[in-house]
Amino acid sequence: MMDILDILISAGFWAATFRIVSPLIFGTLGELICERAGVLNLGIEGIMTMGAMSGWMWVYMGGDLWTGVMFAAFIGAMFGLLHSGFTVYLGLSQHVTGIGITLFASSLSYYIYRMLLPDATTPPKIDPFHPYPVPFLSDIPIIGEALFTQTPLTYLALILVPMVWYVLYKTPVGLAVRMAGENPMAVEAQGINVLSIRTGAVMVGSAFMAVGGAFITMSAFDAFFFGMINGRGWICVALVIFASWRPGKALIGALLFAGLDALQVRVQQTAGAVIPYQFFLMMPYVLSIVAMVIMARKASYPKALLTPFRRGERT
């Protein structure tokens, strides 16, 4: 028990938590934006893989890190456009399309990787983002090391949470996005094009997801290998429900999951001799399910989620 307390007050634990949480924040915010507009995007797992591959490949081919992030975001937005083409314009099943996008985007990432680097046996490396200690703030004990000695993408993720909140709740376009997810007919009746709003939201959301993927290859690690997204996309989908579609709560949920993940690695080291390590690997997921069950009962989901909107059709 004392061991766990020791871990909880150590700067290393919190630093790890904020590192683990970054891709989850990008992914969760991205999914949240899509769903707020009424479109479930199960392509997230594939789009994150694609973002991880394309951002990394951009840098490996000689681009610099920030344009790599932008390239990954652009590729993500393109997959978002593909997803909305099927679900928003053609009104096809959002579940089936999303799963299809995930399969397509993951396979395509591996294919492109192999095609461009046919001879690589050990994964080649790039020079990734380095931690950037924020002047003065990083000198604060514990907090400084935990929160202000991270890579720039982590800062970006944390800044995005209030920004997404502001846009969704304080600007006209955010109102239109939320309304499109609640009652698209209300948007149409006020003279705004529902299809454009939804497509825009899905593209922006998908770009966020891809940046989340890029974080993993360009900030957390320095190489791309198969299966490295490892279900993070699905965790993000669950976190959106956990958060009741609210950005602030999404941050809390993501921190909770990341904290548990960081904790289990450390507990493994102290108690690993007694309990098999797989048990600890499982813990964040089990606790997430428990948290989900408790939170999801109170969740108020967007009313028009999963409902396609077609103009000029008889109702």
Partner: protein, 527 residues
């Protein structure tokens, strides 16, 4: 020059011509009533005006300028405002958010909430439409939501206001208050297009009536020269008389509810019961009407009586035997005929054939099935043919897909299934919703015939005219409570309307009438 003019509007959906060469115009201060049955093309025409649909041919002019077709924002800019029949509001958002949507450039970085609130407050004052801008729409009553819809249109500086079946969901008192608002608006120079099929409202509010039938304008009269009978005939195309109730002594009880309370199955919702200590006795040869604004517990009552649920407290007795198990098939076999509220979702399976739907309540019994496991198709088709004949279902035959039937014929199919076994009790939940006059008369005749034969009938309806013309006694439902039954002759529409809004409810309910369970002498009346 007319404020608004339609020129030769035609619109088809596949083979159906919804609007056929329609021309009409209106001036400031006009209240045009568009009168017509369901499917006559009223809403289609308005959706074309508002830019939801694009007309196949023809065009619309506002102040002599052509309105671009199929663009809602252009219609709004031209000063058209529409209050849709199904409100276009987002329930989880506030009144202010619903009204502000689309009023600012999408790309501005902030919203001018306080300015909007001030403008809204001034409008509320000017037009007498009180509303709390920070309330969530989900917490508003239906009447208040309609107010938000009207304010939404006025906020965008509408000069022509379209109201699509605005009173369908209102109590009579709320409707009166709406009419007052509309009168004051026309006094200030607004023009109004009012869609309805309720004749008395149209006569009350409009200056001119345009009658639509099958997509065509079949008549246009100044309201002062019009009367009910004439409008009804123009709307239907022929004289239709609804059947009337003949006096009849009621028999022994068929259904008895004693102090029935029903709660939501969910965890949180259990605070407010869906049915709250309901007492009701329905006798043979009797039609009891349930009046009430939708959502006050009528569907819970219908679920209970059709065997989908059992009470949490109290008893439900059918022919003097308590119902202890939630089993629709059981309750059907014990003599209940059910006409469900929504025939598409719970009345029939649209993708299946007529004969399959017709036998669906009788699957395990001879002659439909052999030994309860194998369906005898020949016997089923024979029965179906007999019922098609008897109930005059217009269709291609027993094998036709059910969803291809018109609303009226689909309802006949449900009537055939429910009434052919001669049930002792019939639950008729909104049995004429969405039907045209001819079909309405047919359904009413069938219910009256069942009453004559000796069935007890519960009729749930939102249409007070229907209840008053068909029922021996009427109860009102409000927030899950049921009033005592009132003799339909001894109460007025406005009294029932007040009770639907919850007024005087406490008194009437607390009186605990001692005649609840005793058969009422001569509860019937003749028109």
């Amino acid at each position: 020059m007319a404020l608004l003019a339609f020129h030769n509007i035609t619109k088809s959906f596949g083979p159906l011509v919804a609007n056929d060469d329609i021309s009409l115009s209106l001036e400031k201060g006009d209240v045009i009533a568009l009168l017509g049955e369901n499917g006559a093309g009223k809403t289609t025409l308005m959706n074309i005006l508002y830019g939801h649909y694009t007309a196949d041919t023809g065009h619309i002019e506002v102040d002599g300028k052509q309105l671009p077709s199929g663009q809602t924002d252009a219609a709004i800019k031209a000063g058209i405002g529409m209050v849709h029949q199904h409100f276009t509001l987002a329930e989880n958002l506030t009144v202010l958010e619903n009204i502000m949507l689309g009023t600012e450039s999408l790309w501005s970085l902030s919203q001018k909430q306080s300015a909007a609130k001030a403008k809204l407050a001034k409008m509320s004052e000017d037009y007498g439409l009180k509303i709390n801008p920070d309330a969530r729409v989900a917490d508003l009553s239906v009447g208040e939501r309609q107010r938000v819809e009207i304010l939404k249109a006025l906020y965008r500086d509408a000069r022509v206001l379209i109201l699509d079946e605005p009173t369908a969901v209102l109590t009579p008192q709320e409707a009166d208050s709406l009419f007052k608002t509309l009168k004051s608006l026309t006094g200030q120079g607004f023009a109004i297009i009012f869609i309805s099929h309720k004749l008395h409202e149209i006569l009350q509010i409009s200056t001119r009536v345009e009658v639509l039938r099958r997509g065509k304008i079949v008549g246009s009269v100044a309201t002062k020269d019009a009367d009910r009978a004439m409008l009804a005939e123009m709307m239907v195309g022929r004289k239709v008389e609804r059947p009337s109730l003949e006096a009849m002594e009621c028999g022994k009880p068929v259904v008895r509810l004693n102090n029935v309370t029903l709660r939501d199955a969910g965890r949180k919702a259990s605070k407010v019961p869906k049915l709250d200590q309901v007492n009701l006795t329905i006798h043979q040869h009797e039609i009891i009407g349930i009046a009430g604004v939708a959502g006050n517990g009528q569907s819970a009552l219908a679920d209970l009586l059709s065997g989908l649920t059992i009470p949490n407290q109290g008893t439900f007795e059918l022919l003097d035997v308590p119902v202890t198990q939630a089993s629709p098939s059981n309750i059907v076999h014990r003599g209940v005929g059910r006409i469900p509220e929504d025939r598409h979702s719970s009345g029939v399976v649209g993708e299946m054939a007529l004969w399959e739907n017709l036998i669906s309540e009788d699957l395990r019994n001879a002659p439909v099935s052999k030994a309860g496991i194998i369906i005898d198709r020949k016997a089923c088709v024979e029965r179906t043919n007999a019922l098609i004949e008897k109930f005059d279902i217009r269709c291609e035959g027993p094998d036709a897909e059910t969803k291809l039937l018109s609303g009226g014929n689909m309802q006949k199919l449900i009537l055939a299934r429910a009434l052919a076994p001669e049930p002792a009790f019939i639950l008729a939940n909104q049995p004429v919703r969405g039907l045209d006059e001819g079909a309405i008369a047919y359904v009413h005749e069938q219910l009256l015939a069942a009453r004559k034969r000796g069935a007890g009938i519960l009729l749930i309806s939102e249409d007070l005219d229907e209840l008053f013309s068909l029922c021996d006694r009427i109860c009102v439902m409000y927030h899950g409570k049921l009033t005592q039954p009132f003799d339909a002759k001894s109460v007025s529409t406005s009294q029932v309307g007040l009770m639907m809004a919850g007024q005087t409810m406490g008194q009437t309910f607390d009186q605990a009438p001692d005649n609840l369970n005793a058969p009422v002498k001569e509860p019937s009346h003749a028109d």
